[in-house]
């Protein structure tokens, strides 16, 4: 079973600085780590490999600092790490990002299953996974809360549709995006903590770096980065300026106040 895990190197959103004046996110203000949801994708990939054998390849499209997240993935047990980095990839929206990731998967060849996270903490769209599946013309399941069974030619998953959870059987190759908490067979998945020895070894591990030209035989260079993006951000602002005018009360008065609010809304 050849598994590809899409890992987005993302900043810790509680540490990153937002330049309110200029309306930009200072991406250099926090180090890049594995997107939280993608930790579950890595873990599920490793669990599947334990059962079916094969290999796990992690792929990230990120600036050079993204290498840190890939080393973390290696420390956790992925066999191979690929960083897609090139000025030509910069400024990508979900269309261009997914196009580039799909190109990399195609370049790898011979994959059976692609795993990704439900959404990224910075992009926050949940769209990249399904778009990658579309570019590759393979089936996908998003918001997967349970991987029920996986074999060499199919995977059965439980997917959150919104009103209910549906059971889907996908022919491989396929892509699934993992939610949290997620169950693998009957076990709740908890991302492992890498061992110190593995962390140290991962520092010396090879992270392959691929640039745009390396993908030229499987993709159109015009599809990458800003050039390949169909959307433009015209304005960004920080929402944390908009506090509510809160009233603070304590003790018995608190209960009175809550009752007042409930009464004014005819809830009691």
């Amino acid at each position: 079973m050849n598994i590809v895990v899409l890992i987005k190197p993302t900043p810790d959103v509680t540490k990153v600085r937002f330049d309110v004046e200029r309306g930009v996110v200072d991406r250099s203000s926090a180090e890049l780590e594995i997107n939280q949801f993608d930790l579950y994708a890595v873990e599920v990939a490793l669990l599947i490999k334990e059962v079916l054998g094969g290999s796990v390849t992690a792929v990230s499209m990120a600036p050079p600092q993204g290498e840190r997240a890939l080393r973390d993935a290696v420390a956790r047990g992925v066999d191979k790490a690929i960083l897609l980095t090139d000025g030509r990839f910069a400024g990508a929206d979900t269309l261009a990002t997914s196009y580039t990731l799909a190109a990399a998967v195609r370049k790898l060849g011979g994959y059976d299953l692609i795993l990704c996270g439900e959404k990224s903490v910075d992009g926050d769209t949940a769209h990249v996974g399904p778009e990658v599946a579309e570019h590759l013309n393979v089936p996908h399941a998003a918001f997967v809360t349970r991987v029920v069974e996986v074999s060499s030619n199919k995977v059965v998953v439980e997917s959150d549709y919104g009103d209910a959870y549906y059971l889907l059987e996908l022919q491989l190759p396929a892509l699934i995006s993992l939610s949290r908490p997620v169950v693998f067979r009957d076990r709740v998945v908890e991302p492992r903590t890498p061992r110190l020895g593995d962390v140290l070894k991962a520092r010396r591990a090879r992270v392959e770096v691929w640039d745009a030209y390396y993908l030229a035989d499987v993709a159109d260079l015009e599809g990458f980065g800003l050039a390949g993006s169909a959307t433009r951000v015209v304005r960004v602002f920080n929402v944390f300026e908009k506090d509510r005018n809160s009233i603070t009360v304590s003790g018995e008065e608190g209960v009175d106040r809550i009752l007042e609010v409930l009464r004014s809304r005819r809830l009691v």
Partner: protein
């Protein structure tokens, strides 16, 4: 060429989502600036006429209905094919899809197929002075709001349910209904077979009007009874912050926040919740927020209309008692 607004009316076998009507209301408003008609497309296996009629009452001028066998209705790739087909036939300037999990899985497949842009989970959509469609969405776990333009056609957006008001239906409204055909190869469409419903949701928090949410301050699972009682008295739902799901005391369906449910109730009561950005991302747009917290400096205070500084183990039982008193007087 490209004009009008196409609303994708979500139905995978459980009836039309009510958020579809919100989209139709918005579409009617945007159409005055964008020109063209308000279209809708839906897939159905039964009650085709009822669905089409409703879509017209809420603002569609033209409805495209793709009739598919019942067992294929929950297959997203069938919906992709239908939506792609309708976009090619109608050439709408803008396509609106509800940002439900289903919509956020289907929408991107359609956008990638058409090689156009898609903006996720929009909180607003407007037409600017140049006549361009601008999409407003949160990013960075809800820390920032971005305004986005799409350079290609159609412009596709998934829109968060409950951000646009529900329009009044006009039962006298007339429109065209077109029955469409899809070429469906078999039960196993493009490698996906839907085996059925695995389990129902315990609760749909996104639809709750009153939410009592509990956080890490909770000392034991049994103490949840306190909140269940209050929820019952108010006709609301119990929800929680992530740590309670992590320890297994609550189900994922009851988690509010970035990795849980986005809610917009009339009243949100946060008990023993500090107000981490990931939690705020799921409840910030509630109509009225009450926080009960022992710590007067907890961040949740700044996003609340009313902060009650106190121990919820005292405040909530008293509140329940007072509500019971009131009710017994009636």
């Amino acid at each position: 060429m490209w004009s009008g607004v196409l609303v994708y009316a979500e139905n995978y076998g459980r009836g039309l989502k009510s958020s579809v009507f919100e989209l139709l209301g918005k579409a009617s408003e945007l159409r005055t600036r964008l020109g063209g008609l308000v279209y809708s497309i839906t897939l159905a296996s039964e009650e085709v006429d009822v669905h089409a009629e409703e879509l017209i009452y809420y603002g569609s001028d033209k409805v495209l209905v793709y009739r598919v066998p019942k067992e294929l209705l929950p297959n997203q790739l069938v919906h992709r094919d239908a939506l792609v087909d309708s976009v090619k036939a109608l050439k709408p300037k803008l396509v609106l899809i509800s940002a439900t999990p289903w919509g956020r899985s289907l929408g991107p497949r359609v956008a990638a197929h058409l090689k156009t842009g898609i903006t996720a989970d929009c909180l607003d959509i407007y037409v600017d002075e140049n006549g361009d469609v601008v999409q407003v969405r949160p990013a960075f776990t809800g820390n920032v709001i971005a305004h986005i333009k799409t350079l290609r056609t159609p412009v596709i957006a998934t829109v968060r349910p409950k951000v646009f008001p529900m329009p009044e239906p006009d039962h006298g409204r007339k429109g065209d209904v077109l029955c469409m055909k899809l070429n469906i190869p078999g039960n196993d469409v493009a490698g996906v077979r839907v085996l059925g419903v695995a389990r129902e949701k315990l609760v749909k928090l996104s639809e709750a009007e009153v939410i009592i949410s509990v956080g890490k301050g909770l000392r034991s699972r049994e103490d949840l009874r306190l909140f269940e009682e209050l929820a019952k008295a108010l006709g609301g739902q119990v929800a929680c912050s992530r740590p309670l799901v992590d320890v297994g005391w609550m189900e994922r369906d009851r988690q509010v926040g970035f990795s849980g449910n986005v809610v917009r109730p009339r009243i949100y009561i946060a008990c023993g919740i500090s107000g981490a950005p990931q939690h705020l991302a799921g409840m910030r747009d509630s109509e009225y927020v009450i926080a009960v917290n022992t710590d007067s400096s907890a961040p949740i205070g700044r996003y609340s209309d009313l902060l009650v500084v106190g121990d919820f183990y005292e405040v909530i039982p008293k509140l329940v008692e007072r509500i019971k008193e009131l009710k017994s007087k009636l």
